[in-house]
Symmetry: C2
Subunit: 201 residues, 2 copies
DNA sequence: ACCTTTGCCTAACACTGTTAGAAAATGTAA
DNA sequence: TTACATTTTCTAACAGTGTTAGGCAAAGGT
């Protein structure tokens, strides 16, 4: 029965449309303004059908966050694959992280809880660790790591991440007035990333 | 008329009780669970009286955030006042920032938008900049600053802040499972703060 | 033709922030 | 004390939220 397939594809299609509508609303009005009825309106349904695809609003947002982690991981891979040394790859990946945060602000807010409370990612096997693993691997692949313990690698990773996430979330959460100039943010980011990488030598 | 004063004091007292009740609820149930009716219940009133003290829920939360900035600034001053050099004061202040973030988790989330969306602090003259100014002053007071531009000082400040805020918010937003050990967080923080301070020499 | 399943919607529940207007308490003046 | 005025507080409601139960109608299978 090919009709079975077609019906399944249609259901999958509705699921995608829900996710797409949710993203569109969050992009134009912010996460705060996202509601089940608004999503349903946008895809010409009523609110309850969403619950046939997602257990609740939180699960929907978690699914979106997972998409975000996949997107970010993909971008990080693209930007690093043609480079040679682990150090170059690491820097390219963090720059991808940085660019993603501003280009896909809404995804980032959801993924890392900047002014949005959602998602706890308790369960293992989520895509939460996908971007982290990519960088982790490159740190381990570097010459520096040969003489280091896992704890040292862990510390390096968190040093990178805290600067990146800190600077990003300060920028994303800031008000209209209190402006760190883009240029200064960029320079602070570049300097810090380089300094941490150099400390691995 | 002393009764006028007494009545004014009573009004002020209700205002304080509203703020205290809101903090207590957020501490036991989280910001997500905070509602106007819950606050009113806790102080034996009905919800509308809150609107005689605060324009709306956001204004209430902004008032709490302002209290947070004052508390943090006070702690930073206490911890640094008996120290001699600007460098020592800076480090003591960032350690105060760190301790405050975990001891007063709910305040911190509100003040810096970690998993809570509130407050935009558009208007100048808020207490938002109070903690920043304390550290800024010490950076300027250091010998290093003599040969530097304002932009350099700005960059140093944001380097400090991004590490501190990044590491704090990663810890505050993390799920139950995904645990960075406290010890590693501490060490990453200490190393980074020392490294940035040393870079000022 | 019947029955079962599926897809979808209407209506409702228990909440949320917020406001308008009535009621009760208080203060002031005659 | 009585009368009016003011302030304080509450009730009731509105519009919105996430979520669920129940029913209608079309489709599928026999």
């Amino acid at each position: 029965m090919a009709s079975k397939d077609r019906i399944l594809r249609m259901k999958e299609d509705v699921r995608c449309k829900i996710l797409a509508a949710a993203m569109q609303i969050s992009r134009t009005e912010g996460w705060q303004a996202l509601s089940m009825r608004k999503i349903a309106d946008k895809i010409d349904y009523t609110a309850p059908i969403i619950y046939e695809h997602f257990a609740n609003k939180e699960a929907l947002m978690e699914a979106l966050a997972m998409m975000g982690f996949k997107k970010l991981a993909l971008l990080m891979q693209e930007r690093s694959q043609n480079l040679d040394t682990p150090e170059e790859k690491i820097l390219a990946m963090w720059h991808a992280y940085w660019d993603f945060a501003f280009a896909e602000k809404e995804y980032y807010q959801l993924m890392y809880g900047v002014q949005v409370n959602c998602c706890q990612f308790d369960n293992k096997g989520t895509d939460f660790e996908l971007p982290a693993e990519l960088i982790w691997d490159q740190i381990e692949a570097s010459a520096w790591a040969k003489t280091k313990t896992e704890e040292d690698i862990c510390k390096i990773y968190y040093t990178y991440w805290s600067v990146a996430h800190g600077l990003v979330s300060i920028n994303l959460a800031k008000a209209g007035d209190i402006n760190i100039s883009e240029q200064i943010s960029q320079e602070v980011f570049n300097n810090a990333m380089n300094a941490i990488t150099n400390s691995m030598k």
